[in-house]
């Protein structure tokens, strides 16, 4: 028995004799600290969102604190943004880019996740190793060759296909589906097999209906990546009418928007349009997420 344990046991005896007031007071105090810490945190995390929204609805902008007090609110910044730029086209580009990625990722990841979880086959270890490897390879490492291949060899510069290709299947989502499938009892698969269902039927009619929570996580994760990304579409879209929202915001900012009455307001309006879909999707899908699912994108 170590000294600490001795001390600890001694204390335990003391505790038994006086339960109550001091412990309760201590608990109330720690509760207060807890709420204060959490609220301070929330303030730091939410402040930029408030700033973005309030400036986007204000008629003018100043650098000081007065900008945070909501005065007269207006939609003028949004109106000017839509009048002077083709931000609508950019939103469509972003939607096609992200939508294509979401669709391809679900198809590829469901199939691959199913194979890894339920099928014993030659090369499954290679496939799984590739899934793990691709999760940690950062995009920048292969930036130059990807650009050379996609624009020169595959001839996909200034095209949706070229934007989508590097994001087409998210290895993290493959991993999430595999992990989720492994929690499904094998008996269900065997029962389906006895009923004469092939793998495709089993996946579509037995597994997929059970997969909703993981599916929501997979869709949100694969949407957020391309919708938010700047570097890749910035590199391969030279034509402005092909640029997604994140890229065109920067182009508009450096020319058109500067000529508006309230350029900062218009930029914040543009930033709000860029921010909103990911946030809304996340908040809506949230009740389906599990911490494990969200962490699963990177965690082994």
């Amino acid at each position: 028995m170590t000294t600490t344990e001795l001390i600890v046991t001694g204390r335990r005896a003391q505790h038994r004799h006086r339960p109550g007031a001091s412990a309760r007071r201590r608990r109330a105090a720690s509760r207060t600290i807890q709420v204060v810490a959490l609220s301070l945190g929330a303030l730091v995390f939410l402040f930029p969102f408030y700033y973005m929204l309030i400036v986007s609805f204000s008629p003018s902008w100043t650098a000081d604190w007065s900008v945070l007090v909501p005065g007269q609110l207006t939609l003028n910044n949004y109106a000017e943004l839509f009048e002077s730029t083709n931000v609508g086209r950019s939103m469509i580009n972003s939607a096609i880019f992200a939508g294509g990625v979401v669709l391809l990722t679900q198809i590829g990841a469901l199939l691959c996740g199913y194979a890894l979880a339920f099928i014993r086959f030659h090369g499954s270890r290679l496939v799984f190793g590739t899934v793990l490897l691709l999760q940690i390879v950062p995009f920048q490492v292969l930036l130059i060759p990807l650009y050379v291949l996609v624009t020169r060899s595959y001839g996909l510069g200034d095209s949706y296909a070229g934007m989508i290709l590097p994001f087409a299947i998210n290895a993290g989502v493959v991993f999430i589906y595999r992990q989720f499938f492994l929690t499904i009892p094998v008996e269900m698969i065997e029962a389906a097999k006895l009923d004469g269902a092939g793998h495709v039927r089993t996946l579509l009619h037995v597994i997929l209906p059970l997969t909703r929570p993981a599916l929501v996580t997979g869709v949100v994760l694969s949407f957020v990546g391309p919708w938010n990304d700047f570097l890749w579409p910035f590199l391969i879209t030279k034509a402005q009418e092909m640029q997604p929202l994140a890229v065109s915001l920067i182009s508009f900012q450096s020319n058109i928007i500067q000529r508006l009455d309230n350029p900062t307001g218009a930029i914040m309006a543009d930033a709000t349009l860029l921010m909103l879909p990911s946030v809304v999707l996340f908040v809506l899908g949230q009740r389906w997420f599990t911490t494990a699912g969200l962490g699963g994108a990177v965690k082994e």
Binding site: L38, R120, I136, L142, V224, N228
Partner: protein
Amino acid sequence: MTTIDRSIAARVRRGVQATRRTRAEHVAGALFSAPFMLYAILIFAVPLATAVYISFFAYRFTAPGASIEFPFIGIDNYTKILTDPRTQQAFGNALLAIAITVPVTIGVGLLLALALNSPLRGRGFFRTAYYLPFITAAVALIQVAILVLQPDGLLSSLLGPFAPVDGFLMSPVWAMPIISLFVAWKQLGFFVLLYLGALQSIPAERFEAAEMDGAGAVRRFFHIALPGVAPVTTLVIVLCTITCVNIFTEPYLMTQGGGPDGASTTPGLLIYQQGFQQGNAGYASALGIVIGIFILVISLLQRRLFRSS
């Protein structure tokens, strides 16, 4: 005789069926993983081979259609990485970013996760609030950061005389730390959730028993919580390292491309500058390979550490 024959025949037949079935399984497995593997070849294997190949040449971006022979220069691009002061500066900046983001993420992330790890009204709200920056486009949040960090912006007025005169983003001392803090802030919610998950997997009885035994909050933190979340902490170190080496959008947009005078240039940004702005695609590819190897080593180390503990 005949019964034996028949049973052998049946067994053989069953064996044939079994192999046929396993063969069908092999085919099904290959077909199901084919889209992902095809993608991995197109988007990882081929580019990787191309990157290695290009990195041994004085490869430059040329006008489309023009075909020029680029001279083979062996490992010159790689030796240049070791000697170029700009590259050294970029890796130094990445180290600074790691030295800032890792402790901030572990400290604040764990603190918030601990505060969240007990029944409380509004827990869902806090979790969502912390996670929002992580899933929001960097480009959108950077626009706000630029306004707040201006010389006459809110942060300067908050810090008063301690704020740099030219604003945080024009200051060679402040530019990289402030970008690092922004990056740490943006991804913190993700790690809060990871830490929360790890804390929740520690049996509550362990905390209760320790409390009964009179262990104070500090003691409970160091003896139960911290060891319990060790796998997440190693993950924080690995992921922060990967992120910091590859930071691109923040310095590109916040400090006009890694300024002032390279003070906020990261290896990730350097790849872009060397490859696309200066056309040295061979050198930029070599940089990418070096970063890739570095990250692979860090990840393998983490995995080994993870297994042994």
